[in-house]
Chain length 353, copies 2
Amino acid sequence: MKLKIAVLPGDGIGPEISVQGVNVINAVCKKFGHEVSYEYALCGAAAIDEVGDPFPDETYNICKEADAVLFSAVGDPKFDNDPTATVRPEQGLLAMRKKLGLFANIRPVQTFKCMVHNSPLKAELVENADFICIRELTGGMYFGEKYQDDDKAYDTNMYTRTEIERILKVAFEYAMKRRKHLTVVDKANVLASSRLWRKIAQELAPLYPEVTTDYMYVDNAAMRMIQEPSFFDVMVTENTFGDILTDEGSVISGSMGLLPSASTGEGAPVFEPIHGSWPQAKGLNIANPVAQILSVAMLFEYFNLKEEGELIRRAVNVSLDKGVRTPDIQVKGGREYGTKEVGEWITDYIINA
Amino acid sequence: MKLKIAVLPGDGIGPEISVQGVNVINAVCKKFGHEVSYEYALCGAAAIDEVGDPFPDETYNICKEADAVLFSAVGDPKFDNDPTATVRPEQGLLAMRKKLGLFANIRPVQTFKCMVHNSPLKAELVENADFICIRELTGGMYFGEKYQDDDKAYDTNMYTRTEIERILKVAFEYAMKRRKHLTVVDKANVLASSRLWRKIAQELAPLYPEVTTDYMYVDNAAMRMIQEPSFFDVMVTENTFGDILTDEGSVISGSMGLLPSASTGEGAPVFEPIHGSWPQAKGLNIANPVAQILSVAMLFEYFNLKEEGELIRRAVNVSLDKGVRTPDIQVKGGREYGTKEVGEWITDYIINA
Ligand SMILES: CC(C)[C@H](C(=O)O)[C@@H](O)C(=O)O
Ligand SMILES: CC(C)[C@H](C(=O)O)[C@@H](O)C(=O)O
C-alpha cells in the first residue's frame, strides 16, 4: 500500500510525540512493504504565531490531499491568559473538524492492566471495561447558529437527518465488529433533537438485527459509566454530550495518557492522542508517546491493515509489561524512560518482530 | 412560625415516603412550637390517571398558596412502554419547575460514612467529598424554542442576563455560607451562552471578594468530579450540564438513595429526594425514607430554622449509625427495617431529643 500522510505536530509536547508516531509508521511500512510519504503542516498556536490562523488554508490543503492525518496536540497557555486574543488554538481544532468533514470521533476506552490502579474507580469495576465512545463531531451546538449580546445569548442544537444517519451507521458498523451491543445516548425526554436521533436509531436498528440496541438518557449514561463501565460496548451520542461522556470515560479507565482517538468522515481521517499539549513538559523528553503511537495503530486499522495495527499494539503492551515507561506511568523506583527511549524501544520491537 | 405545606406524594413509593416526611415535619413543629398545615395535591402519573394532566391547575394553585412544597417522586413504567402516550409524568416535573419559577436546583452531594463502601470510587477519594451542585432549572435547552420534523430538529440553548444573574447570586450566597469556593462550569470555549455566563460571573465575582471563584469547562468538570471530588465546594451550571453533573455527583457519593434536593426561585420552594419513584417497590414498605426526611431538613433550613434542620440531620445520622436501615443500605445479616419503622425511629428520636 501507498500512504500519503499529513503530519500536524502542533504545540507543546506535540512535536516530540509526533516524531515517535512517524518513526513507528516508518517501521511498520518497512516491515510490511508499504510505501509512505509525509507532508508536514502547521496548526494550533504554532500556526497562529506563524500565519495568524490556527488551521491555515495551506494546512487544510495538505490534509485534503492526504490519505490520513497524524495529529498530535494543540493549545498554549499564553492564549488562555490573554483575554484580548481573538484567535485561539482550539478554533483550529473546530475548523479542522468542520472543513475536513470529520463527523465521527471514535474514542476507545480501554483499560491497561498496569494502569488499573490509576483509575479513581475500584479496580474490579474497571478491569473489564472495554468500550468505544462514538461522538458526533460536526453538528449540534458546536456549529449551530449562535448569538450573543450583553443581555442574552443562545446556541442552537441543530441536527439534520443526514447528519444523524451517517453517524449512527458508523456506530452500528462498529458494534457489528465488536460485541454487538450499541447504546444510543440522548435526552429524548426533553430535547426535540434527541427525539429525532432516537427515531432514526429506531428506524436503523432493524437493519442490524444482530446488534442489541438500547437507549439511555445522558444523565443516566453519566452514572452508568461509573457504576458499571463494563456494561458498554459501543456508545454513540451527539457532539456536546459526547464531549462530556468521552472525557468521563477516559478518566475512569485510568489510562487517559495512553488513549488514542480517530476522527473520520468525508475527508482524510485524523488520528491523535486524546491528551493535550502539556506545554509545561515541552522539550523535556518526558511526554508519553504511547497514545500517539496507538493512534498510529488506529490509522493502519482504518485502512484494514489489521496485522500492522496488531503488531503496534503488541509492541506497546510488551513495552508496558517490561516497564519501559515514561515517568507519568512508571512505578515507584522504576527506571524512567524518556519520550525518545520509549518510542525507540517500540520501534525496535516492531522492526525485530 | 406558621407553615403551610403543599404535599405532592406522586407515584410509586412516593406516597409511602411522603408519610414519613410529614411525620417528621409534625414532630419538629411540635418540638419547636411551630404551627403547620397541609394541603395534598396530585402530580405525576397519579394526576394523569385522575385528571389527564401531570401537573394540574389545582395542584399549581395549591403550591402557589403554600410556603413550601414537599414532593416525593413521579414516574410510572406504563408510560415509558407506551409510545402512544402523549402526556408523561415527567412533563409534570418540568411544568412545576417552570410555573413555580423554580430556577435554582440545589443538590448537596454529601457522603455518609456508612455508605462510602457503596461508591464506585475508591474510598479515599469520596470520604471527604462534600459539595453542592447548583443547577439552573428553568432555562436553556429545556425551555428554549424547539422544532422537529422528519428531516431536522433543533433545541435552543437560550439564556438571558436576568436568568444568569439570579442563579449565580444564589451560588455566590451558598459559597459564602460554606467554604467560600465557587466553581462556575460552562463551555465558554465553544458556546455563546456559556460566554455570557462567564462574563456575568466575572462581573459578579468582585462583589463577593471572599469567595474564590474558578471557571471550569464542563468536560473537565465531569472528569474532576471523579478524580478529586473534594476539590469542589459549590458548583453552579446551566440546566443541561447540571442534569448530567448532578447525577454524576450523586452516584460518586455512594449515598444516592439518601440525598435530598431543593428547588427554589420565585414561588414556593420544593423539597424532594433525588431518587425516583421505584414503582417495583410500591406498597412493600421497603423504600428508604431518609432522602425524603433530609429534604424536610432542607425545608426547615430554607426558613432559617437551623436548629430544626440540625436535629433532623442528627436523628438520621444516629439511625444510620445504629443500623436502623432499610434493606437497600443494610449491612449483610443486619435486621432490615421497613420504611415505616425507619421513619418512626427518626420521628421518635426527634420527639425525645
Ligand atoms: C478544545 C475543545 C473545543 C474540544 C471540544 O470541546 O470538542 C475538546 O474538549 C475536545 O473534546 O476535543
Ligand atoms: C425527568 C427529567 C425531565 C429530569 C430532568 O432532566 O430535569 C430529571 O432527569 C431530573 O434531573 O430531574
